[in-house]
Symmetry: C2
Subunit: 222 residues, 2 copies
């Protein structure tokens, strides 16, 4: 695992804050860190949340399990990513989702009130933190809308293609890896795993794409 400062520097919550100011700031925020093993629950649905989490190492999934055990994966959050910010900022009573460690992970928890309450007139950082938080919330909003674009498609093929196209755009390459195994990808796209597997096989036969495990390559059709 990398040490804290270099990870936190990449976290958008601390954008435009000098690295040597971070230590003082973190003290002021009274942050706490904790490790989780794979599949451990970091937040549980129905919990009350008063803090946001920063992923120091590993990655987490924001999920929702329904009564029948069907799991939906809302988001995958990697190193330096933030989670729980919307629920903290909206001061919601009950968390509608859970957060689990997708792999062994270390999380830094920061009390939400500490972030948005200007501790004193001298601490100029909080103004910065609040603006950063606002931008994070806005971008999170847009990510959710992006995901809705995938879910709004009618067929598994269209869902998969819109997701993969987006991944290709983000990695600026027609070949890329995704942070999901097959079952997780199905849960993310809200389709059945075997139906997804079947469709992927057909698409590969048609020459639309190639894949191996979580590595994908989009092919141009002539």
């Amino acid at each position: 695992m990398e040490n804290n400062p270099s990870v936190l520097k990449k976290c958008h919550l601390f954008a435009d804050i000098a690295e040597n100011d971070l230590d003082a700031l973190l003290g002021c925020l009274s942050a706490a860190r904790r490790g989780y093993e794979k599949n451990a629950f970091i937040f549980q649905a129905e919990d009350k949340v008063f803090s946001v989490g920063v992923v120091l190492s590993g990655s987490v999934h924001v999920i929702q399990d329904d009564y029948w055990g069907n799991r939906s994966i809302f988001a995958n959050i990697g190193q330096a990513g933030l989670f729980g910010e919307a629920f903290s900022c909206a001061e919601i009573e009950k968390l509608p989702v859970s957060v689990i460690a997708a792999e062994p992970a270390e999380i830094l928890f920061i009390g939400y009130r500490k972030i948005i309450t200007t501790c004193s007139n001298t601490c100029a950082f909080h103004t910065k933190l609040i603006k950063n938080m606002m931008r994070i919330l806005a971008r999170q909003n847009i990510l959710l809308i992006q995901k809705m674009e995938f879910l709004s498609r009618r067929t598994t093929r269209e869902k998969l293609l819109s997701y993969l196209s987006e991944q290709a755009l983000q990695s600026k390459s027609s070949s890329f890896s995704i942070p999901f195994n097959r079952q997780e990808l199905a849960d993310y796209l809200c389709v059945d795993r075997s139906a997804l597997s079947r469709e992927m096989g057909i698409m590969q036969n048609e020459g639309l794409l190639r894949f191996n495990k979580n590595y994908f390559e989009l092919l141009s059709v002539e």
Copy 2:
């Protein structure tokens, strides 16, 4: 149409701001109002947006049309509601969605920069505006997650039931009206209209619900 102040008072962007301060503030924000007829585009996908819109009267839909003409309705926004805030705050280059008037509507546009830039040390309102904006973005986030709960269901019946349950909760009654006609509801739930109609008929026969136009009544099963 109601006059401005009484509508703006209900707008969360101006929460905790005294009504008689609103006039001065609006001048400072250099807001502009404009009317739209039904189905008129207020924002077009691919546009650049520098302002947020407040619905003074009527209502709007945030939509996305794909290449084949399939429309998805992301959100319905009624009086005193806000739209475009996420795209403005994230300073996105191109709008991924469009906004259209669901019925004749009057919109108040406010430049985003005017909102988040503290104009001078004496203007205390901007601090308030920024905190309000943060809460709005967070709540918007949660609304999007809520909608994803509908879309993540596998069948039309489950999508519809989860949506109607939510509406019943919000109206605190088992009977309520929704802001969509049949085609719009299908576009909102991302399913085919005729398939939705068929399923609704079956559910009514089974005694799960009753409906007439956009009025619904959820029935308890014994």
